[in-house]
Symmetry: C2
Subunit: 241 residues, 2 copies
DNA sequence: CGCCTGTTTGAAGTGGTTCAAGACAGGTGG
DNA sequence: CCACCTGTCTTGAACCACTTCAAACAGGCG
């Protein structure tokens, strides 16, 4: 059954900006339903003009682009709290695809209501823009990583970023966080080959910097890893849609 | 002296969405001045919380990030019509720097007025979000390029994209467009070394696909170049701020 | 003229790719 | 219950696209 926004389990997590009562009330109207999908389900695809926006409530996904040469670039990992489909929402068309990596539950919003949001809820509209700018910021960081860092630095960057983000939504357990992706997914995200990604992971494991197995990532010293990955930014208080 | 928005020379270019009279009137109030800077001038820097937003009226610039290891990633080339500083505008802090590559003239807006825009001009607010989403889209494309394409494909992609964008603002002259950047700039944008970039340019020149010298880029067959660069998206009608 | 920035070229080195093959786990059908 | 998938991870070895090092050249400028 659809969770009421008032009881939204993720809204109160430390990562998210508090919402006023009026905002919660509006979101409750804006939300048209809840969706539950299995792992592997495509949520949005490149070129489509989806009538819907989603917010991930639980589970993990991937945003990616497929190239004419058959290669795949993973743009980012979708985690609980992420807004999905903003591009189609404002520009009318997706230029990347999104799919569920694990089972996911999602809030569903009506794209056509986005306009109402802009007209009547300036604060929320500002938040939407904040989210778009934040994604731009993330991609800029990813670009700098792929473009200028070594394989080891890149993997360390990705792990550290994911660890901090998961920590901020209370998914850290001791020194480990869930990581339900494959090495191929990580390779596609960092522009590396699967083989080299695997060898890089082995090296990080030997040095006790990061151990990734059975869907869980363990990081004994996150600050050391951040240093290796040349991480400069931390997740900041963000609005939730 | 300051151009009135009503007479804005770039608003009527084919690339930009028409603006209503009410919108023009608002922009005229939103705009607090005009700025003219020399080549090399830093406009915004990483970490700063600039009180201003700009729109490039003429001239060329660069957005880039500097890494702790001393390397530089160019995120994009700033062309006339581009909005600068949106990140600081909504998130309060820049995570990349922007500087002028040539002489530039810029419209200056007051960041604190951005909020007024969101409250009283929903359409314009929507446009701002559109712009943010469009930058995200571009960075996704750049990521796929750097991550998955060969050096030749990357250079072809960058050239084709710039050519089409400049064409859309009437800066094409026959088969040539202005390109006032250095090979080092391009190398930093594509995550390649200067030497290899230079050799790749030589190869494209030999094959008569693209000739870049003395600040001008000539492309005899843009569609062939787009194919080589695996270009899938074209510049689309965009709002101007 | 001397200096600076940007471009060009050659040659050597390497971080990463590609190819190949095996191990292991989970799932499926006979 | 076993044989046989298929997907993921792992490892070794050969190769090459790109980097790094080095040096020369061209144009603009005080």
């Amino acid at each position: 059954m659809a969770t009421r926004c008032a009881n939204c389990p993720i809204r109160k997590l430390p990562l998210f900006k508090p919402m006023s009562e009026r905002e919660v009330a509006f979101m409750e109207r804006f939300k048209i339903g809840e969706m539950s999908v299995q792992s592997g389900t495509p949520l949005l695809s490149e070129g489509s003009t989806s009538p819907q926006l989603f917010t991930a409530l639980s589970g993990f996904g991937l945003r990616y682009k497929l190239l004419p040469n058959g290669k795949k670039q993973v743009l980012s990992f979708v985690l609980p709290g992420d807004l999905i489909g903003l591009q189609a929402g404002v520009m009318g068309q997706m230029t990347h695809s999104v799919e569920a990596t694990t089972h996911m539950t999602l809030c569903v919003f009506n794209r056509s209501e986005l306009w109402t949001l802009f007209r009547n809820h300036a604060e929320r509209a500002f938040d939407v823009t904040w989210i778009a700018a934040s994604e731009e910021r993330f991609l800029g960081e990813a670009l700098a990583t792929i473009g200028q860092k070594s394989a080891t630095e890149s993997v360390a960057w990705a792990f550290a970023r994911l660890y901090r983000r998961l920590e901020a939504i209370n998914m850290r357990n001791g020194i480990t966080v869930p990581m339900p992706y494959t090495q191929q997914n990580l390779a596609d995200a960092l522009g590396l080959s699967l083989v080299h990604t695997n060898k890089t992971l082995a090296r990080l494991r030997e040095q006790q910097l990061a151990t990734w197995s059975e869907g869980r990532l363990s990081i004994p010293d996150i600050e050391a890893l951040e240093e290796i990955g040349l991480v400069e930014e931390k997740p900041s208080l963000r609005p939730l849609l």
